[in-house]
Symmetry: C2
Subunit: 261 residues, 2 copies
């Protein structure tokens, strides 16, 4: 089974299925989208869509409402094709332990989502995720998916790895493989077996190539659609990996084992 | 004709031809490589290779000798398959006008290279390229290929565009499309027709997608091999572009017109 381990809701939903078909992806781990850049056709419209996101981040739009709407949109898309999709639900940043528990119960568990993300802490803020690690453990160790490309730096990534070490039962997925810091990230995770690597959005194919060589059981094929396509992401992995068993694991087996799909 | 407009010398040379074949690339614009990360198989060996580059940049190894060797390696590879390759020659950074002229004559023109690059100015140093713009004009407007991903910021890219404006006959190729600043770069080049966009190494497919929409005659398919593969780069372009005429131009027509291939 080929599993795209990270894609955002794309509109119209038919387009998402078409992209999966083009790449021969059987199932997709689907994440929320607060904006839909894939629906824009000009630079101006794209910028307007980005500004919506900034309005949410800056509090001009109510971030809680926008997030709840995105969760509802995700749940609806999954409901139409439960055999195709598995959900990861988003959560506001900086909640207390009790607030995390309440949100997870209401928006993650109730929707039958299987993990939490995409978490996008600002630089210097990663340690504030500790209450969420603790809440995840309370709910049977829901995997946490953390964006580690810009604006995070390697100090932030090290903070994240400290949390992963402190909560060894909580699967921690390093989104985008550490971004520009992929090499240091690969060296830093060796002794932290609950850390997994998402292979999307790296600026060079050398990054997923070395990641898979070093961690063939902890690396996940993913598109980050609409920011990349499943076909491009799969093409990259298939060129990098020559061993058919490893290829099968990276393209789906590893994430299937983690989520018990 | 499909032309990969930017790849570095890969060892062994047979591997380069194999990558071209896999992507059905007819010709490649080939650039020097002072290091060969593609020959390494472990993180440790890769780091050792990177350290060689740092030694060159920091003057521990003689940067002039290393560059001349890389130019010779490039010329040798092209010589074996002149029907497959067109060279762009590198040049040391920060030469005076006269030194630029002397280098271009000895290492670019004498090798029948058709352009200059990859130029990698540090942040804050871009304006020092002016002598090279001037020298390029002197030699019939050799295209200049400039790396604009990190460590450059958008202020640096604007400096580069000022030079391109000041030398309107010198084709200036924005390597990697402005990197993280691709959107601002797309907006800034509208009135500078001698600026062209290299589509490699962008962290999202949205970047080349909007670039081609806005500038179908100024965008070049490129792999930046060994950092990406021609097949991945071509797969990206083919998914983005639906118009067959535009696709043909981006995959080869545009760079062929510029270099009169």
């Amino acid at each position: 089974m080929v599993i795209d381990s990270h894609a955002h809701v794309i509109l119209p939903p038919q387009r998402q299925l078409q992209l999966m078909l083009e790449a021969k992806v059987d199932r997709t781990i689907l994440f929320t989208s607060m904006i839909h850049p894939e629906t824009t056709n000009t630079i101006e419209a794209f910028e307007e869509e980005l500004n919506k996101l900034y309005d949410i981040l800056n509090g001009v739009k109510n971030p809680m409402n926008e997030r709840i709407q995105a969760v509802e949109e995700l749940a609806k898309v999954i409901e139409t094709h439960p055999e195709k999709y598995i959900g990861f639900g988003s959560i506001p940043f900086g909640l207390s332990y009790d607030e995390n528990l309440a949100w997870i119960e209401k928006y993650i568990i109730a929707n039958d989502f299987r993990g939490i993300g995409e978490l996008t802490p600002g630089s210097g803020k990663v340690s504030e995720l500790e209450a969420l690690f603790s809440a995840s453990r309370e709910f049977g160790n829901l995997p946490l998916w953390v964006h580690t490309f810009l604006p995070l730096n390697f100090k932030d990534i090290k903070e994240l790895l400290i949390l992963a070490k402190r909560y060894p039962t909580v699967p921690t997925i390093i989104g985008h493989l550490g971004g520009m810091h992929w090499l240091d990230t690969l060296k830093a995770i060796r002794e932290i077996p609950n850390v997994y690597l998402d292979l999307s959005a790296t600026p060079t194919m050398l990054a997923p190539s070395f990641a898979i060589k070093e961690y063939p059981e902890r690396t996940f094929f993913s598109s980050d659609a609409p920011y990349c396509s499943p076909l491009t992401a799969r093409t990259i992995i298939e060129q990098i990996v020559t061993d058919p068993y490893v290829l099968e694991q990276v393209l789906g087996g590893n994430i299937a084992r983690l989520l018990q799909i």
